[in-house]
């Protein structure tokens, strides 16, 4: 990750000045938005496939169980390799991807027993893995910064502050060895703890150790006072790198396997008969979902990740009939939700409308709310299947229908003379309803009312004939 980050820094400083890059990410607003959008894009695209495969809840399960992968990898790293990985370490990410796959395998095992349906199988498998993770954290992971808030809603708001500093230009890193004059040598009692004795006790034995030996990056060396050369540094938020890499991996995966994902999602049997491997592709998809879930975990916590996968995809589903458009729209809607979500957290709806009071709230939660707002807007207003459009269409159809009932009646008894009163008696409608229908028909010229006598006009005949033809 660090190497990739150096490349990104290199690229960014080519495109803009160092000061501009630093100023860009020092603004909590921009960093939060960049991270949010970088999570929303891959999650939205992958979410489209999850939704269509009936695996919406799988993304929720995976976003929880990645914690187990992270923790297990963390324990292995610290116990056996004496390293201190953080969430952007590739080992933790591999661990997380593994946990995602284990979740899916476990779910499928339970399901294959034939005793449980898929939702129940998920409900059994993922709390188990999550519970294991919680116990491992409590039991084996000390002083690791993993508080409940972080697990709940993530740390996107402080993403700007968690940076790697990259020196720009040729600065040497500084190595301090024990014989260096700058080395600090301290005496440490080797048997005090074991024998429970005071360091002043004559039985205490001491060794000398160097407390500050090691390799220092130019930035660290300057801060520690080992050098007076102050390097030019770019402070690059770690979560931007993680999210960007995950977004690239997911986009590449979808771009390369779009056709395969499409056919195995729509018709796995056809796919298999044509020589595709739906099972292998399914696991590949789960690995990519897990990767994106880890990237998202850091920023938005494990509970809200599912929203990034599913809400934009569901919104896009209402808007289009084409899979490719659904995938693109889902990414766009997710990004919009993440972008405006930041504003909402700071009290501005859609970035402009100020909300009353002192508004300063969870960024990730606000992003989810914003995605939901977009969903509801589309649900109501989508031109094709939106509730408003459907309601308007129904209303129109209902009106046409009552109009035609009345016209049909006039036509059927063409030789009779009708007045409002006789019609009312015949058709049996409320006077107001009858008046409204007559009014509409007269205004459109489909009936003529002549001294209280109601006659169907030529246009009325045409309209009735057209209706009859369209319904048979």
């Amino acid at each position: 990750m660090y190497g990739i980050e150096q490349l990104l820094v290199e690229l960014a400083t080519r495109l803009a000045s160092i000061e501009a890059v630093n100023a860009f990410f020092r603004d909590p607003r921009t960093t939060a938005r960049v991270v949010g959008v970088l999570i929303a894009i891959p999650a939205g695209m992958l979410g489209s496939f999850l939704l269509l495969r009936g695996m919406a809840l799988t993304s929720d399960a995976i976003s929880h169980t990645v914690l187990l992968g992270i923790v297990v990898a963390f324990i292995i790293m610290t116990r056996f390799f004496r390293m201190e990985p953080d969430l952007s370490s590739p080992w933790l990410i591999i661990g997380a991807a593994g946990a995602g796959v284990v979740t899916v395998i476990l779910t499928e095992l339970v399901q294959a027993s034939g005793l449980m349906k898929q939702d129940a199988a998920l409900g059994l498998a993922f709390p188990f893995l999550f519970a294991l993770a919680v116990i491992f954290v409590a039991r084996y992971v000390e002083n690791v910064h993993m508080d409940e808030d972080a697990v709940m809603v993530g740390e996107i708001g402080v993403a700007w502050a968690n940076t790697n500093s990259h020196p720009i230009g040729d600065y040497e890193s500084v190595v301090i060895t024990a014989d260096d004059p700058r080395a600090e040598i301290v005496r440490r009692c080797v048997n005090c703890v074991r024998d429970q004795i005071n360091p002043r006790d004559p039985a205490a034995e001491f060794i000398e150790v160097c407390s500050n030996c090691g390799e220092y990056s130019p930035g660290e060396a300057y801060r520690a006072g080992f050098t007076t050369v102050r390097p030019v540094l770019v402070y690059w938020p770690k979560s931007v790198t993680v999210a960007l890499v995950m977004a690239l991996v997911a986009s590449l995966f979808i771009a390369i396997f779009f056709k395969e994902l499409k056919i195995t999602t729509f018709d796995p049997e056809l796919a298999r008969s044509l020589g595709y491997r739906p099972t292998a592709l399914n696991y590949a998809l789960m690995v990519v979902v897990s990767l994106v879930a880890v990237g998202a975990f850091d920023a938005v916590g494990s509970i809200l990740v599912i929203a990034f996968f599913i809400i934009p995809a569901a919104t896009a589903y209402l808007l289009t009939n084409r899979l490719s458009r659904m995938v693109a729209l889902s990414a766009a809607l997710g990004s919009a939700g993440a972008f405006w979500g930041y504003d909402l957290a700071r009290g501005r709806l859609f970035g402009v409308l100020p909300l009353p009071g002192d508004w300063d709230t969870s960024i990730s939660a606000s992003m989810v709310i914003m995605m939901m707002v977009l969903f509801v807007v589309v649900l109501l207003a989508s031109p094709r299947s939106g509730l408003v459009a459907v309601w308007a269409r129904r209303r129109r159809q209902r009106r046409t229908f009552v109009d035609m009932v009345l016209l049909g009646h006039l036509d059927h008894h063409i030789n009779r003379v009708f007045s409002r009163e006789s019609l009312e008696a015949h058709i049996g409608w409320q006077p107001e309803k009858l008046a409204a229908v007559l009014d509409r028909l007269e205004r459109s010229g489909r009936i003529e009312i002549d001294a209280g006598r109601i006659n169907i006009s030529r246009r009325g005949h045409t309209s009735l004939a057209a209706f009859r033809a369209s319904t048979t």
Binding site: E260, F266, L274, N321
Partner: protein, 268 residues
């Protein structure tokens, strides 16, 4: 089969050409089980090239299972399958499959043309997208089933019969030599049924082999020149004249003779 050795020798020179004696489908000792309960049991079946065959049997007889096992969609417990003398894995592009209509999500965001184009995905390599040529072929297949006016429709806005014809077009576009169709006549009206039969006969005319799971015993003799009766095991298989007899039907369907007579009408 008596000519086993001969068939094997002939099938060695691959599936191409118009070799009349070549078998389109050869199944030996095929057993398939779900959870150790056999759905089909030691099935031997040979389908000569160029026949239009009905696969007939009661619900749960294993007809769908047989077809899926041929296509490698479910694992075989025992036995072997060869298509034009080759294992299915090497003869994929020779086979077209029309699944039962209920097997996909009809609310999937895709159009009729798009679904038909999927029939051509087998011939596209990795990273290749279907292009103009594929769309033209798909459009031509849609014309054959008279659905050209529905090309741009979302698939849920089709009637049951139109959905069935979409599947048929998707198989036609593959230009396969052997077609396996699972109940293409389910839930279609008389007009659509006629249209589908015409397409099937046309396929046969072009030397294609077609295997159709069929439930309507009344029409078997009209539509098909070859018949296989299946009920977990093969009851009979051969030309419809000699296979589709009252005796065999009774063996297949069990139950009372009256029932079988009633469903088969006066055909046999």
């Amino acid at each position: 089969m008596a000519h086993q050795g001969e068939h094997n020798r002939m099938t060695d020179n691959n599936g191409g050409g118009g070799n009349a004696a070549l078998l389109a489908l050869e199944i030996e000792d095929l057993t398939v089980a779900y959870h150790s309960k056999p759905a089909i049991w030691d099935v031997d079946l040979t389908v000569p090239q160029g026949v239009l065959m009905a696969l007939v049997g009661p619900n749960g007889a294993g007809k769908s299972t047989l077809i899926k096992a041929v296509l490698g969609l479910i694992p075989r417990a025992a036995g072997s399958v060869s298509v034009f003398g080759k294992p299915y894995e090497r003869a994929r592009d020779l086979v077209g499959y029309v699944p039962q209509r209920g097997s996909v999500d009809w609310d999937f965001p895709t159009t009729v043309l798009d679904v038909v184009t999927m029939g051509l995905y087998g011939g596209l390599g990795l990273l290749k997208r279907p292009g103009k040529r594929e769309r033209e072929l798909a459009m031509y297949a849609l014309e054959q089933v008279s659905l050209q006016d529905f090309a741009g429709r979302q698939i849920s806005q089709l009637s049951g019969g139109q959905q069935q014809r979409t599947f048929l077009a998707r198989a036609l576009v593959q230009d396969a030599r052997l077609y396996l169709m699972d109940e293409p006549f389910a839930a279609v009206d008389a007009v659509t049924e006629r249209a589908i039969v015409t397409i099937l006969k046309e396929l046969q005319h072009r030397q294609r082999t077609v295997v159709v799971v069929h439930h309507d015993l009344q029409t078997v003799t009209d539509y098909f020149d070859w018949t296989t009766l299946l009920n977990v095991e093969i009851v009979a298989s051969g030309p419809t004249d000699t296979t589709f007899t009252e005796e065999n039907l009774r063996k297949t369907y069990g139950g009372s003779i009256a029932t079988v007579n009633a469903i088969a009408g006066g055909d046999s």
